[in-house]
Symmetry: C2
Subunit: 244 residues, 2 copies
DNA sequence: AAGTGGTCTAGACCACTCC
DNA sequence: GAGTGGTCTAGACCACTTG
């Protein structure tokens, strides 16, 4: 059971605007109604509408021009991935226009190795829960993901059978912990033989590797993840908006 | 001559807070004064202070806990790069704690090739201004950067002698254009021989490759950039904050 | 001059934690 | 219950473009 926080007014407004763009009410290159008009139409303050609009700006969906208006980005369709907020690989693959699926390769306990212990700030050999998954886009393996969680964080024991959707949800359910932030080290690597096999690439094929650490609000490392990403099949595109 | 926009109140407040954290007025793990207190102290509204604080949150410098307070992230020091922001490579290297320097390998005109023409949406063979630079951290080459600008955008001809700091500034000065947003495709590649030589790595050493396109507000591609990044010497770390 | 986005305010109410 | 951050409002003034 997942508890849903009700959407804020600003989030609802964002969704309405996103939908209108998607459905062509506002078409690429068009100027949107002014902020005041939209705010009045939706019955919200201009401040709140601006907050809603800022989300679209950050996504590169619209572009603000002071004194002139806000325009639908002509290239909004080319923009797929938002590294800022990509939390779920499933969504990443869906956004890329592919059919996502997951194969759970391993889920169980074992002692930590040195690397993991260092990153999670625990003693070597302490037990951890390990989750290895393969994400497929249209049945082609694109991401190999390994996640490691210190066992002592898990209050509710994990059911190894049930597939796990996202690490955030997993932690919330089994540890009562919320992720406050994460760091990702981005590297280019030649894949270890096992990974290359799983992703069906040559060992000489460079892969993107994301080494993530997820922290709770108290600054405790809760998850250590190593993710190999075959960007040949699934573009990894980052959008940056010039902040004014 | 560069025209400086005066800093907004929110930006000034951000800087003050950042400075206090850096100088240890607020130390890692500490709770900051409440938003109301800080706002009153600085003589600004709480709304504005929150905007200032949000910047620090996005950087992972502080962590907000509803009902409890705002805390200085214990790991704020480990956080170096913020991919979200438009970065200048110089700053990137400085943030990594190294001494930056630039070697300009080439600056001049030539006709486009097919790839560039495609990305810049111009005809093959149209003249472009090309800038090839090598960025060094403590005299070690870490980034090989090639930028291509359609020549017809450049109203003020470029002085090939003068070193160029950043593409944004270059465009502002020589084309009167502002960058509104950019897209970056992130890939892992084996470097072409020339790049490998410049960065002093083996050709079998995978490198991160950022393929950037910078757009003006009207959605016109203004710069096409290919940047090879040797992350072995300079970590590329991304921070993501869990948005509430 | 009119209209647009950019910034800021003072104040309200709510959800949450427990300093 | 007191104090904190989270959200929202109505309105003001400014900077900018010319829809």
């Amino acid at each position: 059971m997942v508890i849903e926080r009700p959407l804020t007014i600003a989030e609802q407004a964002s969704q309405i605007l996103r939908k209108r763009i998607r459905e062509g009410v506002y078409t690429p290159g068009d100027r949107l109604p002014s902020e005041s008009e939209l705010a009045e139409e939706m019955g919200i303050s201009r401040t709140t509408l601006r907050a809603a609009m800022s989300a679209l700006v950050a996504e590169g969906l619209v572009i603000r021009k002071q004194g002139a208006g806000t325009y639908v980005n002509k290239r909004s369709l080319e923009v797929t991935t938002h590294l800022q907020k990509f939390w779920s690989f499933i969504q990443l693959i869906e956004n890329g226009g592919h059919k996502p699926s997951v194969r759970q390769l391993f889920a169980g306990e074992r002692p930590t190795n040195k690397e993991e212990a260092l990153k999670l700030e625990i003693e070597v050999g302490q037990p951890v829960f390990v989750l290895v998954r393969l994400f497929l886009a249209d049945a082609i393996p694109v991401i190999h993901s390994t996640n490691v969680v210190p066992l002592r964080l898990l209050t509710h024991s994990a059911d190894a059978q049930k597939p796990i959707e996202s690490i955030q949800v997993f932690l919330r359910q089994h540890a009562g912990q919320e992720i406050a932030y994460s760091t990702s080290d981005i590297r280019a690597v030649l894949p270890p033989p096992e990974i290359a096999r799983a992703l069906r690439v040559h060992e000489q094929q460079p892969l993107l590797c994301f080494e993530d650490i997820f922290f709770t609000a108290s600054g405790v490392p809760a998850v250590y993840g190593i993710n190999y990403y075959n960007e040949k099949f699934l573009g990894m595109r980052l959008v940056r908006t010039h902040v004014t």
